[in-house]
Symmetry: C3
Subunit: 348 residues, 3 copies
């Protein structure tokens, strides 16, 4: 039961303007390079401009300002935001989402099923310990573990094989992808010559509403009190959040970055891939930490930091430039030495 | 059934000295910033000194030398080690630990349950393959997999969804957090133009007593022989331990660091977050590898290394300084050039 | 029922030449340092040459050119490729592989078992959703999840606790190690002041034949179309592959490296541990990215890149050298200043 759309229909949907053949029909979406004449594609990033003309796509969404006309037999649709328009079409052509209808799978192990709302989906082999609360329409997929006295709000979604340990608190519409672990012990020991003594990790993890957490993430429970991820933060795969960290509202934490214990990120911080943040630091609101930056001191609001140890991006650029100037500087010093030597000979 | 403690009682417990109101009662623990008048808090790191006076905590554990008196109506308890003292109180007020009473859950799949001591806990949907040995009081939580002929000692704890493959050897009191994989194949291939040929990974992983391993860690089995984590080592989340690595006694390996094949760490090495250690290297006893260091040659005992490629911390600091000196040096060379030019003009 | 081999038999197997005692028998393999007189060992890397003589190994495979004679009572076998020869012996002495005989474990949850070939192994508590296709002799071990309409070819192996989400396509002989997640949502949002809007991730992941993927890896599904790992690529543990990435044939991706969205690697690229590749980049065929490199622009074929931001290795070496020259340069400038000052005094 595949969907189809004419160029006309697409143009209406996205508020665009057709250039080229109008009576063409497409039945799928694809990138410029992979598209066939049955696909609609788009130019969302000027880096790919050179791919538009060679593309086989029947229809291409292009920016309003795109000036090359379509080759014979093909179609452009000019629109204000090709990327957003394309997203809509992707959804139109998408296969139906996976069914997570309400109910508890017979192989799930639910300590107290009377406490589970009827609208909740619990998948095969999921384990729900005593004291767990799940809000309406929440989905706990196959193989998930939800520990003692942990609470999830409404419309949360745990993808297969997520682990959430005891006493955690998740708000509404929290999404957690497969493999992620929430509430593991923080890394705390009293070092000793004869062996290190574990500092008990007795707090919990609080994740506010509308947070999404990628796959393979680790969020440690607090030593005491809470590790806290605030509303709307988005966390990519393989990220490390240590004990007692606070992640501010609407932060973006990109893959493989990590935050050491007790550090605190303000609102809207962007930490790019593989960034590392040392412990007990503050990163100000809206700061941007560039890829692989190693943050070893507080970062002011709105700053852009780069390098290890990280510094303001402009200072980093100055230092890169300084290094590249050394060979020229050596040549100049050598020349000076020769000139000065000649002057000295003349003088003596 | 919540616990309560008076300032008097706390002071006795921690061997401290009360300053301020003595007859106050608290019923919980919290950080200085999150505390209410019903909480006891602490000053464990001088970075947080400015938070003591504004805190709402009823009682604050402070160092013996802390000199500001408590505001009216509040209480300090001076003690030798506020952090250690606070840890004790955290445990006092902690909720009871999760119950892992002996027994095999009916949904667990245990190849040979007659070989399992009665004191062992095996959680729902855990899988125990043939030939597995588990010591007294060991806990294998929900969803764990323990492969063929793997042996665990006494009082080990595998948190939910841990995977341990075949023929591994774990000592006593080994703790492994959720999501971690032990005994996956090492990454070894004979490269070829037409495709790479896998080198079979036929060894195992040995983890000695009192090791703790965080969440989402990967420890590969040896190509032959063993990958070996020695007694008392503590490993944080998302760490990579490649095949045939040896981690010395009481090492600390912080989150997201990784060790390539056949490298060997001595006793008490500290590797900070996101450190990378190349293959076939030796890191000497008690060496410290600072955050994100990239270790590409052997590290002597007691050294402190930083940077990529890593070098002695002092050498790294000298290089950082050198880079910052370049602009000043350029200015001096320019000035010299002008002076020399004037001298030359005078002389000619 | 342990295996034994005489030095004579080993020499024949590996096409080698015996030096020293010929009538010795070994029953296992070990590294030079861990070997006993009952073991055969090998010298595969000249770094370990100094370990050959002190080793207790009964038999050591050495290169043809190895010149020190064996101590009294011990045996060398000279051969062309000691490492490859040793690999053969490792396999000879290896314990039998874990049994994965055909059949569906009664605790597995298989939506439509009539569609599963009889040669397939499905382990305990594995979950196979509707529409899944599995090729002949494929193994899905304990606790794995295979999502709706995902297809696996022949002789694939999913180790315990792997998660593959809906609509993914895996070729033949694809191996996936424990804990890995394939098909999680890409990290895509439209940023907004009042919260970020999720961009639906409606594509899939395609993994071609003969790919092997380590433990704890995350491979995100495409925003639309596919994230694509091509034939023969080998991926180590804890690697991040973002949405719409293309990994070329026979690439090697070492542990903890990551690739951001829509980047494309050519054939035979080697990315060492902890490398980070930004989004929308191209890395040319056979390029080598050294450990922890941060790739922020396209990399030409056959290039060797290092550093953050990454550059040609030779340029990186030049910069390292330049930094080390600064102190000497400062000394020369200081001396020049003094000479020039004296010249000026003389002149005036």
């Amino acid at each position: 039961m595949s969907h189809e759309l004419t160029a006309e229909a697409i143009s209406k949907r996205v508020g665009g303007r057709i250039e080229g053949v109008a009576d063409v029909t497409v039945s799928g979406v694809a990138s410029l390079r992979e598209a066939t004449p049955e696909d609609v594609s788009f130019l969302g990033n000027e880096k790919y401009e050179a791919q538009v003309l060679p593309s086989k796509a029947g229809v291409v969404l292009v920016p309003e300002t795109f000036s090359s006309p379509p080759p014979s037999g093909r179609t452009w649709i000019h629109c204000a935001d090709p990327s957003a328009a394309f997203s809509e079409l992707v959804e139109f052509f998408a296969p139906p989402p996976v069914d997570c209808s309400p109910g508890i799978h017979p192989t799930a192990v639910v300590a107290d099923s009377t406490a589970i709302p009827e609208s909740v989906h619990i998948g095969p082999c999921a384990v729900i310990e005593p004291g767990v609360r799940l809000g309406e329409d929440t989905v706990v997929a196959a193989g998930c573990y939800v520990g003692h006295d942990t609470h999830l709000g409404r419309e949360c979604k745990l993808y297969p094989n997520v682990t959430i340990r005891e006493r955690c608190r998740l708000g509404d519409r929290v999404v957690v992808h497969s493999g992620t672990v929430i509430g593991s012990d923080g890394f705390g020991y009293l070092p000793g010559e004869e062996g290190h003594t574990k500092i008990p990790q007795l707090g919990f993890v609080q994740i506010d509403s509308d947070v999404e957490i990628g796959a393979q993430v680790a969020v440690d429970r607090a030593r005491f009190g809470r590790t806290w991820i605030k509303r709307g933060a988005k966390i990519d795969n393989l990220v490390q959040i240590a004990h007692n960290v606070i992640v501010g509202e609407n932060c973006f934490l990109v893959a493989q970055m990590g935050i050491a214990g007790s550090s605190e990120l303000g609102r809207g911080v962007i930490a790019a891939g593989q960034v590392g943040i040392s412990g007990h630091l503050k990163v100000g609101d809206r700061a941007t930490l560039m890829g692989q930056a190693g943050i070893s001191k507080d970062v002011p609001p709105d700053a852009v930091y780069f390098g290890t140890p990280a510094m303001d991006r402009k200072e980093f650029a100055r230092q890169m430039l300084a290094v590249r100037q050394v060979p020229g500087l050596r040549a100049r010093v050598k020349e000076l030495e020769q000139i000065v030597e000649r002057l000295r000979e003349k003088l003596e």
